[in-house]
Amino acid sequence: MALIRDLAVQGAQMFLVVALAPLLTGIGRKFKARLLRRRGPSIIQPYRDLLRLIHKETVVAENASWLFRAAPYLIFAGTWVAAALVPTFGTGLLFSWSADLIAIVALLASARFFLALAGMDIGTSFGGIGSSREVMIATLAEPAMIMIIFSLALLAHSTQLSTIAEFMISPQVGLRVSLALAVVSLIMVGIAENGRIPIDNPATHLELTMVHEAMVLEYSGRHLAVIELASALKLLVYLSLIACLFLPWGIAPSDADWRGYLLGAAAYIAKVVLASFALAAFETAIAKMRVFRVPNFLGAALMLGLLGTLLLFVSRGL
Amino acid sequence: MHGFSFDVAHLLAGSLVLVSFMLLYQDRLYALLNVFALHAVVLSLSVAWQAHIHDAPHLYITAAIALVFKAIVIPVALHRMIVRLGIHREIEAVGSIGPTMLAGIGLVGLSLAVMLRVTSDADLLAREDLAFALSVLLLGLLIMVTRRNAVSQVVGFMSLENGLVLAATGARGMPLVVEISVAFSVLIAFIVIGIFLFRIRERFDTVDVQALDRFRGDLQ
């Protein structure tokens, strides 16, 4: 019985995230447009885009290899598995133990690995620019992420997301400097990883400033659709990470009944909407920075994470 | 009697050291050769005296060799050679005479310091003799080191070897003394001949004037 429930929850989670991801993008765009005093497209526009892309024919560059065509699915799969394992509305995910936080980050990293390769496959200069910048950003973002994980794991004595989430709800967490540092750092990493302003501009098509767009420049049709969905999913993953790690309130514990889950779902959606609003506000408020100022930005994130960890290491001794 | 014999031996040995100093002091080749002849004479005297007091007749042979070979033959030969090879007459020394003399005195002091540790149950004469022999040897080496031209270096070597003979004869009843002194005379003869053969004018270091600068071991 419990197994069935857990399976249901896990399945619900998997499809919820996929269903929710484009919506999140849509909401984000809507908020942004509003903040810019535009009406903006409707919030379901991303779904329409995906549909349209799926039905278009796919143009593949002449010298594209099998990797180029396989990459979108692998990227999507990696991101999706990661998303499926991040507790959104309930912590009682059947398979959450199959990959802990480190593994989830690594999953996203492997998605990026293929994305960067896909960028280089055609052998155009723009793809190269995109990939090289992407990996540069990643080399700084990932250590920061690991540091954040460290500080959380040291508090919760676990790297299991569900365990950490339950720990964060529980009263013994208290108010900690390291957590504050970690959340700031996590937000910065999230912004960088999802290529949002000020790191990258998802809406731009001025080639020299783009990173993510440059990598997927050669994609079209269904491939592009999958990739777009994947990147939307990635954003969702980060938002849900922040949600379940730092604002876990309302999230359904593993032994919750259906009411608990409904509550959790509601709370989750609220959080996501809130987060996307915050993101939009942030993006409209700030200007994109030069590529070579990104290291400073991420270096700051890394330092914050390291500082948080160090504090914990030291305080453990006291 | 014993006291007297001891004093004479002592005197002779001491004077040998003195003559070594004179050798050290010379700056002209001919004078050097003459003083060396004197050196040899004194040596032969002291050897003879040793022979007398230890009544070891075979030592007389050594004395004779010293007298004939070193005091007469070699100096004359070298004399000739200097003329023949047209070696110019004054000795180029490394550093001036003064420091050299001081160094010599230092060496004598050193040899005394080393030798006088010897517990006196080794008989006194032997011990004194050794001290002097050692200083003669060191002085000879000093001459070889501080003189730049071949002849005076040979003289240095010979005086060194005189020191050896002195020591050997001082050692009572030492076998092979004569043979050794003969062997050494042969050695010296070789050296002298070598100098003559290879026409070594100024220094030991090169065999031939043309080769003076060409070859120094590894300059291929």
Binding site: - | V118, A122, G173, I180, D218
Partner: protein, 482 residues
């Protein structure tokens, strides 16, 4: 048979002595070369028979564990070298560097040297030992100068002068030993007989003994080639005929070393006298490090290996200076292995120099391409001399370094430093010789590889497996040396 065994010592000396005269009068180099080989072989047999039975020490001869090792080693290397020289000297005759007359002289001198060395090793009398060593030295002096080029004469002359000074020192030391023995032992031959000296040395006057040892150490050290008394060695090795270089490195140095060891044991038996150990350790280290650095700037291949001989003598003297069963064992092993390896290297180098027509390091490259056998033989030899396993010297260096480090860490550090510097130089040159674009003549070699391979095989074998007989032998000697 028993009669033969009974006075095999005499044979060891008589055969070379007889050969001297014979070789001096015989014409025709092929014959005399063959005779030379034969004589050396017989000597070797006689020497080997010493293992089976040897007479008790009498007034003239002393045969004990220590010098049997030396005698057999030197006779063996003497024999292989004579084989090598037979194949080498012919070429010299063709190129006109030597005339038949000189060859006759050469062979006579060769046996003279063997005689001198064997005598020096076997006599029971420090005076006679002195005479014998000088005899051997003078013989080698004459052989070094045999090419009569300016360089050769120069080298011979340098050797001669420095050697004579060494001779003088050694003699003075010998006299001093006699003097110190005089009050205890009394006059006459007894005062110069090893066995007597060893028996009674504890009562001798320590101060006199100490002075004596200083002179003996410097005198014989000159022949061992310890820095700073080494000056004659490189040139003598480089300018003489290659067989002589092999014999110098393989034998003469050992004989002088043997003398030093004898006197060291003497010193060790007298409590108050100065300890020889520190002296030897210091000189050994100086020689090692100095020679190691000198290796880098050499331009002449034979001089290069001459310096490496200095380096190894340094290690050996260091080991004996450290003393103790391990270090002494290592010293003996190192000495044996060095003799074998270094002579093998000189054999190879001799052929290389002949085919390439030069001794200049810069002009010898890519041997493994042009002359694979010589090239790889050289590689094995140099690796062995550089102390690489599985070759004999590795074992001895392993023992020296590890045993020293446990006792005197700083000394061991210095030792390792020297070894590393030397290794760097040797390997640098080796790669130049063996690898890279070949240069110079590629004419085929007509050489007898037998001596080379014999030596190298022994070295490789010893690195992996030492026969128990040899080991126990070395152990006795190591204990003897204290």
């Amino acid at each position: 048979m028993n009669l033969l065994l009974a006075n095999n010592v005499l044979f060891v000396l008589a055969i070379p002595a007889g050969a001297i005269g014979l070789l001096a009068i015989l014409p025709g180099y092929r014959l005399s070369a063959a005779l030379n080989v034969l004589a050396s072989f017989l000597t070797l047999v006689a020497a080997a028979s010493l293992f089976i039975a040897h007479p008790p020490a009498d007034a003239y001869f002393l045969v004990d564990d220590l010098n049997i090792v030396f005698v057999v080693l030197s006779c063996f290397v003497g024999f292989t070298t004579s084989v090598f020289s037979a194949s080498y000297i012919g070429h010299e005759l063709e190129t006109g560097r030597l005339t038949p007359l000189y060859l006759r002289f050469y062979h006579a001198m060769y046996q003279m040297m063997m005689f001198g060395m064997n005598l020096a090793l076997l006599v029971n009398n420090i005076g006679l030992m002195w005479v014998a060593i000088e005899l051997a030295t003078l013989a080698t002096v004459l052989m070094v100068g045999i090419y009569r080029t300016h360089e050769a004469l120069e080298a011979a002359w340098k050797y001669f002068i420095l050697a004579s000074v060494g001779i003088a020192f050694a003699l003075f030391g010998t006299i001093l030993v006699y003097m110190s023995a005089l009050p205890i032992v009394g006059e006459g031959l007894q005062g110069m007989t090893w066995t007597t000296l060893v028996a009674r040395v504890s009562a001798f006057d320590p101060a006199l003994l100490s002075v004596a040892f200083v002179f003996l150490f410097l005198g014989y050290g000159t022949k061992v080639g310890l820095a700073p008394l080494h000056a004659w060695l490189p040139d003598a090795h480089a300018e003489g005929p290659t067989p002589i270089s092999a014999v110098l490195s393989g034998l003469l140095l050992n004989v002088a070393l043997y003398a030093i060891l004898r006197f060291k044991t003497l010193m060790a038996l007298n409590r108050e006298a100065i300890a020889p150990g520190p002296l030897m350790v210091t000189m050994g280290l100086i020689s090692l490090v100095f020679a190691a650095f000198m290796l880098y700037r050499r331009r002449d291949i034979k001089r290069l290996f001459a310096y490496s001989s200095i380096e190894h003598m340094g290690i050996i003297v260091f080991a004996f200076g450290m003393g103790g069963p391990l270090a002494n064992f290592a010293g003996l092993l190192q000495m044996t292995m060095h003799s074998l390896t270094k002579s093998a290297i000189f054999f190879t180098v001799g052929h290389v120099a002949q085919v390439k027509g030069t001794q200049k390091i810069a002009e010898i490259r890519g041997l493994t391409e042009t002359h694979p056998i010589l090239g790889f033989a050289l590689i094995v030899g140099v690796l062995a001399i550089a102390g690489m396993p599985p070759l004999g010297i590795f074992m001895s260096e392993f023992l020296v370094v590890s045993s020293t480090f446990a006792r005197q860490p700083l000394l061991a550090i210095a030792l390792v430093f020297g070894l590393l510097v030397a290794f760097g130089a040797l390997l640098l040159r080796l790669q130049g010789f063996a690898f890279g674009e070949p240069s110079g003549r590629t004419a085929p070699v007509h050489a007898s590889y037998v001596p080379i391979f014999a030596h190298l095989a022994l070295v490789v074998g010893a690195g992996i497996y030492l026969p128990p007989l040899l080991v126990s032998w070395f152990h006795h000697v190591a204990l003897m040396l204290g």
